[in-house]
Structure formats: structure tokens, C-alpha cells
């Protein structure tokens, strides 16, 4: 695994380059009968062109909700409570629904988990492709088809006409996901969000899809936000990694920082839980359960499961502390005045 890490890491260049998207203090909640569920709490990160940020965490930690919040695809009873999602300096959360709609698919796109249920079963995938194109551009059905076929050829699909005219159930899972990626990238978005893009696929197809994503990400220069629970995928694909727990980012840094210099006990637990034999990275190896999100305990949410918890961990949520450069962590163990990020 360490071998894979050599190529990554932040360079000076990347840091100086302005981020494509900046997310600051994003909070998303769901109002349920059991009370307010704070699915995402004050999450902040930046996305850079041509780079991959992986968001890692157990299911229910809020990573998918974060992804959907960026596109403002949160349905009631959920709502985005506050924060900024800045794309080219514009706060998406202040846009009208119509303005936001025009950005979806053109500036920010998303690839979803299950490629079976992600397509409308009653239309051909081609029809759904051209529909997406024609929602944004004034082009004819024929022109849209030409664009679509061209894009399909870029995701290593063969027999394009047949794929174009297929109904979703006539394609394999891997093919569907390739079509999905092609549609998402057709309008050359600045940001691509991939929510567990390979989880629902056969293991044999997974690496192909990931390689495709990586290649297209470099080619188009879009920023990729990759949501996953699979640290193997992270090691292969990511430039930077954010670890989420109970709706918060607990540690963020370059893939090198995270894999070799993990600071947060949760990150370390995640890393040790990957059994080299068990490639899917079973995260259940950490003792205890993630907290009930309707009833998050006081203090650090990880403290009940944390082997290194201090007394203050159970009383007060930790501040954020810079370890080095873009690597920071939210843990009392890393406490020190000079490292503290102000206002966090």
C-alpha cells in the first residue's frame, strides 16, 4: 500500500493554485419525529482542479449527505442549515432554484452508487443522455446524439450505437456505470462528485471504472470528490483524504499524511482495520457502534469508542489543529495553542 502512496502528496504548485470549490462550515440537518438529526456538521474542505479528494467514513457518517448538499439535492425533511459552498467565488446556497438547476450537470456533476436504479427503466440510456444535454444546450436531437456517442467512446465502451439504443437492464452494471460517468462528464463540469461509484459493482469491474475516473479526471482537469468507505480505493485514487465521523470531518490531509502520519485515533483505527487479505476493508473491526445521530453524545463523538480518550474528550468537542500544511485534525490529543485554527 505504501508503494502506491509515493506518487501522491501535495506539491507546492497545488497549494498555491486557487481551489475550484470551497466548502466552509456546511451543516445539513434532517427534521424527524425523533428530533433534529445533524447529519453534516460544520464541514469545510477545498477541491482543486485535476485532483481527487476522497471522503472516507462508515455508512451513516454523513458523507453522502455532504455530497448531495453540494448539489443542493437534499429533500425535505432535510435542509442545508448554513455554510458556504463557493464555486468560482459564488455561494451556491444563495442561488435561486433555477440558477442552481443550470449549474447542475454543467458545473457540478454527480455519479451515483447503484447504476441500475440510477437510470429510468422506461427509456434507453441514449435518450437519457441526450435529455441531459438538451436540458442545457439548444441543440437538436441529432446533434445531442453525436455528442453523446463521442462521449461514450471516451469511457472505453464498444459498439456505441447498440449501447446508445439499449435500455438500462440490457447493459451490465459496469457498462451502465461507464454511461453514467460519460453523462456526468459530457458538459465538462468543474467538479465531479462520485458517490461510492463502484460499491454496487462486481469486484472484477471495479478497478476498470476507477481507472477510468482517474484518467478522465486528469484529462478534463475537473476536481473529483470521491465518496467511499474503501481505503484501498482511496490509496489508489486520491490526492487528499478527508475522514468523516458522525457528521464531522475529523482529519484531513494528503493521502501521504493520512496513510503514514495519521493523527486521529479513528483514522488510525480505520487504517489498522484493513486486513491485507480482506481487500474490501471491513470497517467493522473497530469496537463499538457509531453514535445514534439523533442523540450524539457530548464531547468528541468518537470518545466512547476511542482507546486513547482523555477526560475532556467526553466533555467538550475538540477544536481543529494544524499538523503540517494542509493536514489538520480535530482531536484533543493534538491540542496546542499555536496549532489551533482560529474560528473553527
Amino acid at each position: 500500500m505504501v508503494k502506491n502512496l509515493k506518487r501522491s502528496g501535495l506539491t507546492k504548485e497545488n497549494i498555491n493554485c486557487a481551489p475550484v470549490m470551497e466548502v466552509v462550515d456546511l451543516s445539513t440537518s434532517f427534521l424527524t419525529a425523533a428530533g433534529e438529526i445533524k447529519a453534516v456538521r460544520e464541514v469545510s474542505f477545498s477541491l482543486f482542479a485535476g485532483q481527487v479528494l476522497a471522503v472516507v467514513g462508515e455508512s451513516g457518517c454523513g458523507k453522502s449527505v455532504t455530497a448531495r448538499s453540494l448539489l443542493r439535492l437534499i429533500d425535505p425533511p432535510g435542509y442545508i442549515k448554513n455554510g458556504w459552498v463557493l464555486l468560482n467565488g459564488v455561494n451556491l446556497l444563495n442561488l435561486t432554484e433555477g440558477e442552481m438547476r443550470r449549474l447542475r450537470g454543467t458545473e457540478i456533476s454527480m455519479v451515483f452508487q447503484d447504476p441500475m436504479t440510477s437510470f429510468d427503466p422506461v427509456y434507453t440510456v441514449g435518450r437519457q443522455f441526450t435529455e441531459a444535454l438538451m436540458a442545457h444546450e439548444k441543440i437538436s436531437q441529432q446533434e445531442a446524439k453525436q455528442q453523446a456517442l463521442q462521449m461514450l467512446s471516451k469511457v472505453s465502451l464498444q459498439d456505441l450505437e447498440r449501447v446508445f439504443n439499449s435500455y438500462p437492464f440490457q447493459l451490465s452494471g459496469g457498462m451502465r456505470q461507464r454511461v453514467m460517468i460519460a453523462i456526468a462528464l459530457a458538459m465538462k463540469p468543474k467538479v465531479l462528485i462520485a458517490d461510492e461509484p463502484t460499491t454496487a459493482l462486481d469486484v472484477t469491474v471495479q478497478s476498470g471504472i476507477l481507472a477510468e475516473l482517474k484518467r478522465l479526471n486528469k484529462e478534463t482537469g475537473s476536481a473529483l470528490l470521491l465518496i467511499t468507505h474503501d481505503l484501498g480505493v482511496v490509496a489508489e485514487l486520491a490526492d487528499r483524504v478527508a475522514i468523516m465521523y458522525a457528521g464531522r470531518i475529523v482529519e484531513i490531509g494528503s493521502v501521504y499524511d493520512i496513510f503514514d502520519h495519521a493523527q486521529h485515533p479513528y483514522t488510525r483505527a480505520l487504517l489498522t482495520s484493513i486486513n491485507p487479505i480482506q481487500e474490501d476493508g471491513g470497517l467493522t473491526a473497530i469496537p463499538g457502534q457509531p453514535p445514534d445521530m439523533a442523540n450524539v453524545p457530548p464531547g468528541c463523538p468518537f470518545s466512547p469508542r476511542c482507546p486513547e480518550a482523555l477526560r475532556q474528550c467526553r466533555q467538550k468537542e475538540p477544536e481543529q489543529y494544524i499538523i503540517a500544511g494542509e493536514h489538520w485534525v480535530s482531536c484533543w490529543r493534538a491540542e496546542s495553542e499555536e496549532r489551533k485554527i482560529s474560528g473553527a
Binding site: 427503466p121 435500455y167 437492464f169 440490457q170
Partner: protein
């Protein structure tokens, strides 16, 4: 969930009150439901007859109670018939599988294509009208839907471990069906049977209204409405209005109860899912 529970509980209370009133009919009226009094014909409600009298001078309130008794019992009894038939047919079909299942299901498809009312008419026209006949006719023409649902469930249940275990232990097949499979289908059976009672009451009243149901001398909610049109045209609105209101409130309570039960027993959208599954099957075959 609690909302559905409230609705269901209210519906069952309404139904219980109705059941008590029709079963204990003599306690709530002193009159004879078939007592013709030609001096008191077509009286308006009030004046000694709570809901008025019909063209034969019979007390409508009294007939409503006794007629309700007949109609409710027809509803329950015919559903008992159709449930036994439908569950047995469905369980056998689902358990047997293979070509037996295919043949049995085609037969159901064919029977469902026939308008039930037409079949009831035909059978009723051939037999003498009697309470038992009405019960049997409704029972024998309305079991197919139940059968289909039970069959679908048995089809998936029979592969489950507890059935395989019972088989391995040498339990006879009829016992497996009766002791293991049917009890597991009980939520479906209960919901379908409840819906069925409402339908059966509507069928009975329609048949009786057409003169092919309960014999005319016996009061039933449908019989009370025979000639209702002419009475309306003659201005005696109270003769058809009250039995109709009784039918609607009974069937409505049953409908709400069955809907509530369906939600509580987690069978939401069962019918729709069937439709969607059928569509998926079609689209796959089309390819």
C-alpha cells in the same frame, strides 16, 4: 403508523357497534321486520316509525337491523368460503410449482377475465334464490385474487430454511402447508379477507337489488332497495336513503379498517408492486 392504528381502531369500533346492533336486533326494535301494515304505508320518518315505513307499511328501522344482519352475515360467510378456497388453491399451486402451478394460474387468469357479476347472475338464475346460495355464489366467484397473493408468498416461503428443515424431518406436505406456510401468509390473508367482506356486501346488495339474490321475503339491505327508483320518483326518498347509508357506512368502515391493517401489517402497495413486477417481466421478455 399510529395514525393508521387510530383509523383502524375507530373502524373496528364502528363495525363492532353495527355487529352488536344487527345481532341483537330484537333488543333495539319491538317490531316485526316482515310485518305488513297496510294502514301505515309510506310514512315519513318520525311519527312512531323512527325511519318511516315502506310501501307495505313495514318499519324501515326494524328492517334495517334485520336486513343488516342478513347482509353482514352474507359478507362474512361468503368471505369464509372464498378464503378457504383461495388459500387452499393458492397454497397448492405455489407449493407444487412447475407445470401444475402454470396450469392453475392460467385458470385463474381466465376466471379473472370474466365479469364476476355476470357469473353470479348466471349461477343465480339457475338455482333457487336462498341465503346459502348467495353465500356460495359470492364465495365461489371472488377467491381468485386471494389465491394469487397466497401463491406468490408460498412460492418464496417454500425455499426458506424452516420449510426445508420440516421437510427433512419428514413432516408430511399437507402439514407443512397448513402449519408453516399458511400461517406465514396470515397478514395477506387477513387484509384480503377484510377487503373481501366489503366487496361481498356490495355484491349481495347488487344481486338482491337485481332480484337474483336473497329471496324477496327476507329483509336484506339489497332487497330493501328493490324498486327504490320508483319510490324516489314517487317522492318517498327515505325508503332507499337509509339502507344505502347503512351499506356505505359499513363498507366504508371495512375499507378503512383493511387499509389500516394493510399498513400496520406492512403490506404497503402490494398491488402496485405486483404491477411493477409484471412490467419488469414484460420488459425482460420483450428484449
Amino acid at each position: 403508523m399510529s395514525k393508521y392504528k387510530t383509523v383502524t381502531v375507530i373502524s373496528f369500533i364502528v363495525l363492532t357497534v353495527m355487529a352488536v346492533m344487527v345481532i341483537g336486533a330484537p333488543l333495539f326494535t319491538a317490531k316485526d321486520p316482515t310485518g305488513v301494515e297496510l294502514t301505515k304505508t309510506l310514512r315519513q320518518p318520525g311519527q312512531g316509525n323512527l325511519l318511516g315505513t315502506d310501501e307495505m307499511g313495514r318499519d324501515i328501522w326494524t328492517r334495517l337491523l334485520y336486513g343488516g344482519r342478513v347482509s353482514l352475515s352474507v359478507g362474512v360467510a361468503s368471505v369464509a368460503v372464498s378464503t378457504v378456497l383461495g388459500v387452499a388453491y393458492g397454497a397448492i399451486s405455489g407449493y407444487a410449482g412447475g407445470w401444475v402451478d402454470r396450469v392453475l394460474m392460467r385458470i385463474i387468469d381466465a376466471l379473472l377475465c370474466l365479469p364476476s357479476m355476470l357469473i353470479m347472475l348466471v349461477i343465480q338464475s339457475m338455482t333457487r334464490p336462498s341465503l346459502t346460495n348467495v353465500v356460495l355464489v359470492i364465495g365461489f366467484t371472488t377467491w381468485m385474487q386471494m389465491s394469487r397473493l397466497v401463491r406468490t408468498e408460498v412460492l418464496s416461503l417454500k425455499e426458506r430454511e424452516f420449510v426445508l428443515a420440516a421437510l427433512a424431518a419428514g413432516t408430511p406436505v399437507w402439514k407443512i402447508i397448513l402449519r408453516h406456510l399458511v400461517p406465514h401468509c396470515s397478514p395477506t390473508i387477513i387484509v384480503m379477507a377484510t377487503v373481501g367482506v366489503g366487496h361481498a356486501i356490495l355484491s349481495e346488495t347488487s344481486l338482491s337489488f337485481l332480484g337474483l339474490g336473497i329471496p324477496p321475503h327476507q329483509p336484506s339491505l339489497g332487497n330493501m332497495l328493490i324498486g327504490g327508483q320508483n319510490q324516489i320518483l314517487a317522492g318517498a326518498w327515505w325508503i332507499p336513503v337509509f339502507p344505502g347509508a347503512m351499506i356505505i357506512s359499513t363498507v366504508l368502515a371495512i375499507t378503512f379498517a383493511s387499509d389500516g391493517l394493510q399498513h400496520i401489517l406492512m403490506l404497503r402497495n402490494a398491488g402496485i408492486e405486483e404491477g411493477v413486477k409484471k412490467w419488469l417481466k414484460i420488459s425482460k421478455e420483450a428484449a
